[in-house]
Symmetry: C2
């Protein structure tokens, strides 16, 4: 792949304010994010082995997604899908962390600094996180799902159907440091 | 799957305004969305066969993602990935279309109305769209990608790495009507 260092001019063409309206919120037993944003980047909250165990546990845990009652028709037919994409706002990320451009991946100081867009850091210019979940039950405006490691109370931005066909069928490559972290933690794509 | 009709109380717990800041914008030759939001839902723009041809063409077309210059460190290392998730704002969707809760999927009046969260409609409460793209070149703050069918000028919200491991390895099911539309148009997951 060609990589050069020339910079192009850029300007935002947003025609109106891009304001997110919460369509609901998440309820579960995850009270603290695994990674939190500190002054110098993201920091892992506790020992790495503990975190790893918590991540594994959370991936099996059930969360409820409670959609605002006035929007309830928006879910009609959702039970026909086995998996959904949940978009939510990382509401525990402090406002100033949105200014970071690089972090140590997964808060591990021994890993080289990487651009935020190369990582799954919750501290991002726009803390919009996304996770693929398994849908297990629909009760009116409440979805029960597994695999959602959002923190309790996170505002929900959107829900979309998941189809395998929309993802790469060809070979995919990722950096070696990310492959190692992935294997260690099974935690990303948020 | 259990589906019942009980409604739960819900309230947003957003602790501060959720305002999206554009981190850049998209430049390509796609000037009109394939689907546009009309008064009664989304409508396909032109004949379905033409649209299908355009969708196929756009999936091979190159787009540039121009990241704001002041954020450029945020891309460091991005060339180590073959595929990225691009999150962008559907800026051509009129504000009032964010109030819709049901649409005819892909604007096809013969298909039954479906809740917006069961569809890929760009008219959503929060028009945050997401596409998986193939990265072909990095030039400073400009990424060249294929597979991005966003409209020219769309504000970019976020870029995240794509890993196959974060998606379901188990069986996935989707409704029959969606499977048909998918086969016809190869267009979704946005």
């Amino acid at each position: 792949m060609e990589v050069s260092k020339k910079l192009s001019n850029s300007s935002s063409e947003a025609p109106y304010n891009m304001i997110i309206k919460a369509v609901g919120f998440i309820r579960n037993n995850i009270n603290k994010p695994f990674l939190a944003a500190g002054d110098s980047g993201i920091e892992i909250q506790g020992e790495f082995d503990d975190i790893r165990a918590k991540i594994r546990k959370s991936s099996q845990e059930t969360s409820e997604i409670i959609i605002n009652r006035e929007l309830v028709g928006i879910l009609d037919g959702i039970e026909q899908y086995s998996h959904l994409l949940v978009f939510y706002w990382a509401h525990k990320v402090p406002e100033k962390s949105r200014l970071l451009t690089k972090v140590h991946p997964m808060g591990r100081k021994e890993a080289p600094l990487a651009g935020i867009f190369c990582t799954c850091s919750p501290a991002r210019p726009n803390p919009v996180l996304m996770t693929v979940v398994k849908l297990s039950e629909v009760n009116g405006n409440v979805l029960k799902v597994t695999g959602l490691d959002a923190v309790d109370g996170s505002p929900v931005i959107d829900i979309k159907p998941y189809f395998r066909e929309s993802y790469p069928q060809e070979e995919v490559f990722i950096p070696e440091w990310m492959r190692k972290l992935q294997q260690e933690a099974h935690d990303c794509q948020k």
